[in-house]
Symmetry: C4
Amino acid sequence: MNKTRLEAFSDGVLAIIITIMVLELKTPESTEWEEMKAVLPALGSYALSFVFIGIYWGNHHHLLHTVKKVNSKIIWANMHLLFWLSLIPFATRWIEENHFDKISVAVFGSLLFISGLAYFILQQIIVRHHHFQEKMKEAMNKATRKGLISTVLYLVSIFAAFIHPYISEALFVLVAILWLVPDKNIEKALEE
Amino acid sequence: MNKTRLEAFSDGVLAIIITIMVLELKTPESTEWEEMKAVLPALGSYALSFVFIGIYWGNHHHLLHTVKKVNSKIIWANMHLLFWLSLIPFATRWIEENHFDKISVAVFGSLLFISGLAYFILQQIIVRHHHFQEKMKEAMNKATRKGLISTVLYLVSIFAAFIHPYISEALFVLVAILWLVPDKNIEKALEE
Amino acid sequence: MNKTRLEAFSDGVLAIIITIMVLELKTPESTEWEEMKAVLPALGSYALSFVFIGIYWGNHHHLLHTVKKVNSKIIWANMHLLFWLSLIPFATRWIEENHFDKISVAVFGSLLFISGLAYFILQQIIVRHHHFQEKMKEAMNKATRKGLISTVLYLVSIFAAFIHPYISEALFVLVAILWLVPDKNIEKALEE
Amino acid sequence: MNKTRLEAFSDGVLAIIITIMVLELKTPESTEWEEMKAVLPALGSYALSFVFIGIYWGNHHHLLHTVKKVNSKIIWANMHLLFWLSLIPFATRWIEENHFDKISVAVFGSLLFISGLAYFILQQIIVRHHHFQEKMKEAMNKATRKGLISTVLYLVSIFAAFIHPYISEALFVLVAILWLVPDKNIEKALEE
């Protein structure tokens, strides 16, 4: 089983998820500054969701790059990840409609938490089916550590939302920054 | 005629079908538990449709993997399958709007039944145009048997909806479980 | 310049065009037969538009298959074709909303006519930039002849709509049938 | 790191951006000429946005063609470009809803300006990571010059909108024409 179609299908789904959120952005009702200002939080959370999907695409790209054979388990673990990610536009819309209400932010955090777990499961299944070299394993472990940190931060964000939703939002931004620093380790290991 | 573009086009269409359903999910009107609970059936039927499209993608992946040449007959049998699958988001939306009314569930069952037939036609056309090895043929036959069982279950679900829509829903879940168990046979035959 | 990305981009656009029409299909307001019947014309014109886009994809597949090098002229002739095709969902929606009114049908016919011309232009640019073998040229000419016939039929359909929209609809179905019979000629020429 | 998936993902996102704008086109409410005429500006600005995305796709195609290795910096510079381009449907819709009001046109100009900068950044990062031959460098420089001219014109269009929105619109059309003349230089350099 080659991995080309798995990559192509995932790319398609992620490209659609990242782009359809624009369809749901409500345009300001006029060109008055007051109306335009009211759209900024929605634009901000669009940007954040865009970055999150972008991060997943980047990591997915790196992860699948290491894969040589694809089996049904990998296909379904991948589908499982895509399912949770596909709910991000839905949760983003809901957050906007409820003006960053604590419950909607907690649900968004939960979704990111579950997506993080789904990614972790995919990674574990891939690792188990391949015999990576020592260098590669180390790099994978570092990425996994990073993934665990962000998963823990997501978990914290769920409860933090009930103290104040902005704490959770700050945690989301923190995780985004954490991942925007690229997986140099995997890149280096691949080069060697 | 190479098959790359047929796969790419099918991947594109299936990726869109599987993802646009999220656009149609209505967000809860507030963050009250009552409102959130009301969205759960829609989320459930989104998840079910996601799994069904996922199954078709997985099987399509396995089936096309065996193909070496593509001709116009295969192209049109594939287009025919995609047409019926593209109606799944439409039927899913209708089911939700009618709160799992028996007729809407029966129509959904009919759509799955017709999609099953369309897949069967595609498979037959592919088998007829290729000379598969004995091992491969056996694996294909087993998959076909599985396909026939689910097609029969879809047929039953159409009529069962008039007794109670939940019987049909249970049958849909049963077929989903049946297919989530992967086509080990084809995978094994390919490896040999 | 290789053609892979031109094909991938065109596949993407065509896959989206063919699928988003489903988003615009209005579900019946209830499960009453009267309401369901009212949706049938919309479903019918969705099916017809699906077939038209499918035909263009099939022909595009065959045409691009013959291409070895891609230049900017081909890229823009292709973009031009995609532009007109992208308006098909728009025109389909308009036809449905106006219940197959003569003017909307005439506009749909004009769109198909212009798309036909855009395809013809793309084909001519490709032919001019390649030195095809005699066999290939003959096959291309036959396809061109078929294309010309349908373009003429589209032209007739524009005016026929003012006599009765159903004449135009019948002509659309006629063209669809004409193209569903595959380009055996190109396939044979390629094999030789 | 190979570039195939980066291209595929970008193609997917650009294909969706270019096509979803059709979903947002409002159909004329009847088939009266008055109603149809009212839709023409929206169709015009759809066409213009289609051309802009088309230009970016074409240039992206040329630019990525020169790339051999992809690293995380290139991935994120590309994601950054896609983010701004993904807002084009949003801005296009807003312009239409406000009937080409000066502020909405200025915002559209700003978006094109920022997208131009994002493209420039991507180009610079790619150039820095590759050792191109002399010929190639010259061609890239010419394309960069063209890019700078259009970026300056976008900047002018932002301020021109406050004199009269039509001046900005004329500038947009001018840039489109400027780019529709293909990058012959890069094509020639690649052939040599």
